[in-house]
Amino acid sequence: MRFRQAIVAAMTDEMTADESVIFFGEDVAAAEGPFKTSEGLLDTFGPIRVRDTPISEMAFTGAAVGAAMMGMRPVIEIMFMEFLGVALDALVTEGAKMHYLSNGEYSVPMVVRASCGSGLGFGSQHSQTLENWVAATPGLKVVQPSDAQSAYSLLRASIQDNNPVMFLEPRILYAERGEVDTSLKMEIGKARILQEGSEATVVSLGNMVNVAREAIKESGLSVELIDLATLVPWDRQTVLSSVKKTGRLIVVEESPWSGGWGSEIVSYVASHAFSALKSAPFRITAPDVPVPYSGTLEARYVPTAINVALALKEAVKENKVPQPWWITEGVSK
């Protein structure tokens, strides 16, 4: 099934299994979601549990917090991750802190689904991944699937989780197909080793996992590919073990060079597997620019398989840290 259908399936299965799961967002009910990620939900579960909201992200995100505290399991959809910019307080400063501030008396089992990422020509205000807005929030989990299977399994796990979960869906994947075994469970906080390898470890997240997979193939090297899947709390153990085995770490990410999530991984590994490293760990990222609209430029914005493959070869064969393309090409510093 398609990635977006995996979302629908996970929602359907959780709403069937648990009456307390409710769902709301802009145009998610009657219109079945701007990205068709809620096809059939209104029909199946009715207008009490599946609701369209006004354009009021602060109100409906905060409402999810309150409903979760009163025993429901709300899932909400933030159409584009950027829209959390008008509602961050409700999630990060209220929702994520309620369990703590209630001394454990209330829990906030809610999921904020948001589409993210570039590649579809939506321009600077509708194309970022923005993990950084939520990643340093004790009390909030952050999940990002990379294919239909993980979308299905991780969304179910997120809905079942008793804590607030930010569930980031790479928009470019919605139409992608993949096998989905609905009996397969995945745990939040567990990375997936997608392929084993001995010469380097590549850690990635979301759609960059697919870019990395292609790059590894292209490179012809023996590279271990880890889909982080959960960014908070991330699977330090799996990554560390892998790097201790391969001796090299490359993070491939869609976020900007400055401030992107990959630094967290490189930094931790540099601290805790230092002596195992055969060469310098590094990140391959987007440049420090807002996402450009032009198709030609947007295609260059995120790391490409070709670039990643070249970087992998440089890293493994020459123990080098490749410069980003904008530096080698002299278009920026």
Partner: protein, 336 residues
């Protein structure tokens, strides 16, 4: 030691006269509590910040008595009075303010973060507007669960200028949620008189933007609060949706901490002091023959003693340990 729920229920017994006196007594307790809090703060025995509720006791008690313990309230940093009125003991509130492990939030929250799930006090928010959508969401849960409970969002006059107010009101109206938005219009937002930040006088008319029923009431008079609120609560329980209530009060203290409130126009405080909610209640009860000077003195002495005992106990209570700071980040169980 009575529980929060018992303290709450003690305001609503089978005898309405007893209740009236109990409310008066609780108001005295809040007043005394805030007096001592202020003193402790000035003496450096409390850190951080505090926002006193002096002048708002009638509103606090009015809300506590018209709501049921299984209704919920999402209030603000200015919430000692709400906490005490809703049933929390002076000890658990004071211990929280002192950062002790016996505090209502284990000493993790502090003065701005009161909480007690047994009487529906949701963790109070220190962010303006933070509690409004949360209250709407709690009401949504009640609606879906087909419960008759209601949620109250309780906030200040100046908070009506934050985006969350607008969005929450609209959402509540379009979904007909059983939520009551209560503006505690105490005339000031921090150091700014409401008329300097807001171009209308009667804030409750903002409900018209959402075709929501609205009313103003005298927040200095517990009976006015009770009857004004009752209508809104009945509407909500009936399934007829939200209401915006504006309670006119006055902030007798400064905004927080050491604020002397020198920005107040001359005579304003004095004018409002004539309508001091405790005085108003005292007069009403005296008139009804339920109180006399001796009884009042006795009750005031009791409030002093109660609060003092709470402080003594809180002071000697243990601090939370390092482990407590890590206890409630993530939970494996659904609670609440």
């Amino acid at each position: 030691m009575s529980t929060s729920l018992e303290r709450r229920n003690s305001l609503k017994t089978s005898d309405s006269k007893t209740d009236e006196i109990a409310c008066y007594e609780r108001m005295l307790e809040i007043r005394e509590f805030e007096r001592r809090t202020n003193e402790l703060f000035a003496a450096g025995e409390i850190r951080g910040t505090t926002h006193l509720c002096v002048g708002e006791e009638a509103l606090n008690l009015g809300l506590a008595t018209v709501l049921n313990p299984d209704d919920v309230i999402a209030a603000t940093y200015r919430s000692h009075g709400i906490a005490l009125a809703f049933g929390l003991s002076p000890h658990s509130v004071m211990a929280e303010i002192m950062g002790k492990s016996t505090g209502c939030a284990g000493g993790i929250g502090g003065s701005m973060h009161m909480c007690d799930s047994s009487v529906g006090v949701l963790p109070t928010s220190a962010i303006i507007g933070g509690g409004m959508p949360v209250a709407a969401g709690a009401a949504l849960a009640f609606q879906i669960q087909k419960k008759k409970n209601v949620a109250v969002a309780y906030f200040g006059d100046a908070a009506t200028n934050i985006g969350a107010f607008h969005e929450s009101m609209n959402l509540a109206a379009i979904w007909k949620l059983p939520v009551i938005f209560v503006i505690n219009n105490n005339v000031y937002g921090e150091y700014t008189r409401i008329d300097l930040s807001t171009p209308i006088e009667d804030l409750h008319i903002r409900a018209e933007s959402y075709a929501m029923p609205h009313a103003k009431l005298d927040g200095m008079d517990i009976y006015a609060v009770q009857s004004g609120m009752q209508e809104a609560i009945d509407r909500a329980r009936r399934g007829d949706g939200p209401t915006l209530i504006e309670a006119k009060t006055y902030r007798f203290s400064g905004h927080s901490r050491a604020d002397q409130a020198l920005y107040r126009p001359e005579g304003e405080l004095e004018m409002w002091q004539k309508r001091d909610p405790i005085l108003v209640t005292e007069q009403a009860l005296t008139k009804k023959g339920l109180l006399d000077t001796a009884k009042i003195e006795e009750m005031k002495a009791k409030a002093v003693a109660t609060v003092d005992a709470a402080i003594v106990q809180a002071k000697s209570d243990p601090e939370p340990t390092a482990k407590d700071m890590f206890s409630h980040i993530f939970t494996s169980q659904k609670v609440g």
